[in-house]
Amino acid sequence: MAAIALELLRHYAAYDSWARDRQWQATAKVEDGELTCALAGLDSLGAKWTHLLDAIELWLTRIGGRNPGAMPDPWRLQTVKELEAHKSAVLARWEAFVATLDDERIGHTIGWRNLKGEPAAMPLGNILQQLLWHGQYHRGQISSALRAIGKQPPATDLMLFLRENQ
């Protein structure tokens, strides 16, 4: 059984998409040099985004039955244009996947091998919750990275989402 109600999972996924779009609007305006500049404690704005997207891609790949042995280098994308292309490709897969969810599917156990090759298994709903909360954790860091390069990060509180979508 998944450890989260489908109603809540869908709600978090809608919020996640809205918040990511708002942060992307701010990120799309930065210079390539600002995207890749190293920031203490935060890697870089680009590396944070790339890690976030790579994690989604990793899990979609595992759910699809393949087990990558390593995460790609989060520093590999050097321009906003390259990052945007990666974002569009990963999120198209993610949104198509989220649209297929139902109670039965989120309760289905997914088996995978972690990056060390060790076997693991968990209901799909728990994996999706991990991805959504991982996204929120790094959303905080992307805001910090935007602020560290002198930009004002957008407000992404759930309350704002709820008020805009009532």
Binding site: M1, A2, A3, I4, A5, E7, L8, H11, Y12, Y15, L39, A40, G41, L42, A120, M122, P123, G125, N126, I127, Q129, Q130, W133, H134, Q136, Y137, H138, R139, G140, Q141, S143, S144, A145, L146, R147, A148, I149, G150, T156, D157, L158, M159, L162
Partner: protein, 167 residues
């Protein structure tokens, strides 16, 4: 799984993650805890205290019917001991609220005013979702502050907790 159980699990994970961060704070010196790490990061003290203060604010609105009109200074704690005492108090109150939830109560409306005095009415589960997401957002920022201090932040991923706490 019910909404009630889902929300309670989220707060169990949150409590576990916060306890790990609190332990990391305990390992710092008071000077490291308060150090301004520059634009974007602030300090461990300010980021962690902001999260705890927000939870106190929401607890007051939900349980006590009090809507504060201003946020306390998030750099007011002079020592880690002082802050950790505050964190434990707020955590205990929040846990009592979460333990006492029912499905009906979660879906019942709560009325409150925001810091600007504007009135809102929303179901309790929305307020608690906000509290949990706000904490996760700032957990990432506290971890970044720890890294900027040269420390390894603790793993707080949901999946690590969920492995030890299956539904």
């Amino acid at each position: 799984m019910s909404l009630l159980h889902s929300i309670q699990r989220q707060f169990s994970h949150d409590a576990w993650a916060k306890a790990r961060l609190a332990e990391a704070v305990h390992q710092l010196t008071d000077a490291e805890f308060a150090r301004d790490l520059g634009p974007g990061l602030g300090s461990v003290r300010a980021k962690f205290c902001h999260t705890v203060d927000a939870e106190h604010l929401w607890h007051q609105r939900i349980v006590e019917g009090i809507s504060a009109s201003e946020r306390p200074n998030d750099s007011r704690h002079g020592t880690r001991e002082d802050f950790l005492h505050w964190y434990e108090q707020v955590q205990a109150r929040k846990q009592a609220l979460v333990n006492g939830l029912t499905e009906d109560r979660l879906r019942a409306n709560v009325s409150y005013k925001n810091l600007g005095g504007k009135a809102f009415t929303q179901p309790l589960y929305e307020l608690l979702q906000h509290v949990a997401l706000h904490a996760a957002y700032h957990r990432g920022q506290v971890a970044a502050c720890l890294r900027a201090l040269g420390k390894q932040p603790p793993a707080t991923d949901y999946i690590d907790w969920s492995r030890e706490n299956p539904a």
